[in-house]
Symmetry: C2
């Protein structure tokens, strides 16, 4: 290895040449760094008992705050539109994966409970923030400011929770389905609250027509795309498989549907991830059976001993599961690439300097307590499916809370201090949830 | 299906809502469209005997020229920085895949021939363009303009050819290795020619130091990264597999190395694809054996009849090949997603309006003939490895030729007419090559 030193020194001098290169080149390096460090951090986090997603979030917190130590290389990453788009693709792919691993029939089965949990998960934190904790901890502000604080507390970010359930292989449990269903309902209701509060700030009043329109188009999008999609998917799958039964066609159909419905949701004013989740729900393993080419079975069959007629049928499920032709497996590598970008970037938005003012931190802790209590109260409606797990599953505000706060800042009702308070609340709810949820899920109860 | 009509009509009205949405949303739709239509075009092209890549290129030509029929939706796609970055990622992933499927030892074996083919493939077309066909077909222009035309004819775009060899499963043949080796050499020499010609235009003279510097750093990058990388790769693979032997770690290591070396090549002033190809050469299947977890073997073993001791060993190669844990398989879905974006975007840069002026087309045909003859002449040095295949393999100019022409346009030595001539030459060499190469490869000869 000693002979490698001169070459290493020369290679280390190479970045100096990059000074003149465009941002496209730098993005390649950032993606390489995010991809590799996320893969290194994830098993380290898992070794000390945390889910992989916490490793990626903390990596983001570290990278995003290196500027505090005079290292400014990563300062522009979070604001780069190409990396931001990659992160957006990441959370879209994650929700597509979660949708693929969720059976619609089982989601409908928990529909009633999910609606209750989702509605109360919006109403209780909003009321706590707007009428109780806000006026009490931050007295003397405008009524609209408290309303905006309430709206921020009402937001739910399903990405973090979905990732924890997925990391631990618990997407199949009823509590996971209730959280996913409630998150979809929350996204619609959150949008309504944001529209109502924004209208109050801008026009001083709320138009009933506007609220009805938001609810109407959201329901139309969700019901329409899932109903129509499930009617089309079996036929399109059969038709596409006839054209090309290879894995690339299957992959393209699933991913293109995910991207298309993400765009459609975005166009309808919903979060793109809701569209991606709906796309995942469209495809049942049954529809894709035409793609599960038994090539591996055909190759193995002649090698098996002739005297065992049922052997192939016993091996088939194992072979199919591993042969990588299943839709979940095909989407997986796309997830490995993009999903960490989203969580690292989410972590990078955490500005540790907001923690420097003790007064702000004290208020933020109070607001955070309200944020947690509000969602835990809603979890009660999950009943024996695991009220603590469902409640904690709705706690993280993630990027949704930040988006709400940024709208409020643009409208002039959220001050810099209030924004810092909200950022700390978002940090705490986002970082606390993965370990708590992991502990609850490993304990196997939480009912 | 009749009941679906009202919902369909409503869904068709949805895009109207998108009017206010940002470009991030539109990019989701574009990616979905490119991904799906590329998958539909590819098997159609293959049915009429063409490689899949031609289907993607022609799809791009169609999408890029819809504006001629008054449909302007796709006008801004080609210029969108996010889509352009996706395309760049596409060709990087493609060359990484080609590198992974190429054994370095076999590439070195054809090194002498590849150098001869590469050098003559630069010199002959350059001389033809600068001293013969240029002054003859377009008389009365500046000497520097002819030099730039020559430089454009000297460029080689390995993406198209590599894709054809890959589509037909012929990357293992000696001709493919000669073309790949020659393309790497061409990239370095093409850079030298571009620098020399640019210096001639700007300063009226060429600095020997500058030329030496370009050659020096290129050789240093290629030799250094491959030598150092192959020294590190076996150790890093073993170390990473100990941390996490799952497929995600293997995937991250290979893809992150590809992105890192693409950035390093870019930083060294080379094309990023050269770095991606070098990264692919680093990983031999041997280095990655620690990742090829025999989980499927362990699961199948208890089900097999006890009286057949050697059965597992006979099944193992088939199981490993299909089980999707191999590095080539892991990168594949990333390729399905990004590679079509590159070829569709390349096709979209074809402006069919340049074909409207018969005089320009006539000159362009002459220049194209010189472009083809120049590369076929270099193919002679491939000897019995298949001189026609190697010659045709170097014919496509693709995006490299366009970049050279654009530099000339910026320097003011390439006129609008000359630019159109070059664009037509690039179109023809790019679109002719896939069918010709397919025909030569299927004929199985070409020596």
């Amino acid at each position: 290895m000693r002979r490698a030193l001169p070459a290493l020194l020369v290679l280390m001098a190479l970045p100096a040449w990059a000074a003149g290169s465009g941002v496209v080149g730098e993005n390649l390096l950032w993606l390489a760094l995010i991809l590799m460090s996320a893969r290194l951090f994830a098993p380290l986090a898992e070794r000390i008992g945390f889910p992989a997603v916490l490793g990626e979030l903390l990596l983001g917190v570290v990278l995003g705050n290196l500027a505090l130590f005079g290292f400014h290389y990563f300062d522009t990453v979070a604001g780069d539109p190409i990396i931001a788009f990659m992160a957006e693709l990441g959370v879209i792919v994650l929700l597509l994966q979660i949708g693929l691993e969720t059976r619609l029939a089982e989601l409908v089965k928990v529909g009633g409970r999910a609606s209750l949990v989702g509605s109360f998960g919006i109403v209780v934190p909003f009321a706590l923030g707007a009428f109780v904790v806000g006026p009490w901890l931050l007295p003397g502000l405008e009524r609209n400011t408290y309303f905006f604080l309430g709206a921020t507390l009402a937001a739910t970010s399903v990405g973090i929770t979905g990732r924890v359930f997925r990391d631990l292989g618990k997407l199949g449990m009823p509590a996971a389905r209730i959280v996913l269903g409630a998150a979809v309902i929350d996204d619609v209701l959150g949008l309504v609250i944001l529209a109502v509060v924004s209208s109050l700030v801008q026009a001083g009043q709320v138009s009933v027509g506007e609220v009805t329109w938001i609810i109407g188009k959201s329901v139309l999008f969700l019901a329409g795309s899932i109903w129509l999609g499930r009617m089309i998917a079996p036929h399109s799958s059969r038709w596409l498989a006839r054209l090309d039964a290879g894995p690339s066609m299957l992959f393209a159909q699933v991913l293109a549907t995910g991207l298309f419905l993400a765009w459609l949701a975005h166009a309808a004013g919903l979060a793109p991830i809701i569209g991606a989740f709906a796309a995942g729900l469209l495809f049942e393993p049954l529809f894709l059976k035409d793609f599960q080419t038994p090539r591996i079975v055909r190759e193995i069959e002649p090698l098996l001993p002739a005297g065992e007629p049922g052997l192939v049928d016993r091996l088939r499920p194992i072979l199919t599961r591993h042969a990588g032709h299943q839709h979940e497996h095909m989407i997986e590598p796309i997830g490995y690439f993009f999903v960490p970008v989203f969580f690292v970037l989410t972590g990078m938005q955490v500005d540790l300097r907001t923690l420097a003012d003790p007064a702000v931190v004290a208020v933020a802790l109070g607001i955070t307590a309200a944020a947690v209590v509000g969602k835990l109260a809603a979890g009660v409606f999950a009943g024996d499916a695991g009220k603590w797990i469902v409640g904690w599953g709705m706690v993280p505000r993630g990027e949704v809370g930040l988006i709400f706060a940024m709208v409020g800042k643009q409208l002039g009702v959220i001050s810099e201090t209030m924004f810092s308070v909200i950022v700390i609340m978002v940090i705490l709810t986002t970082l606390i949830t993965p370990p708590v949820l992991t502990w609850l899920l490993r304990r196997g109860g939480g009912a």
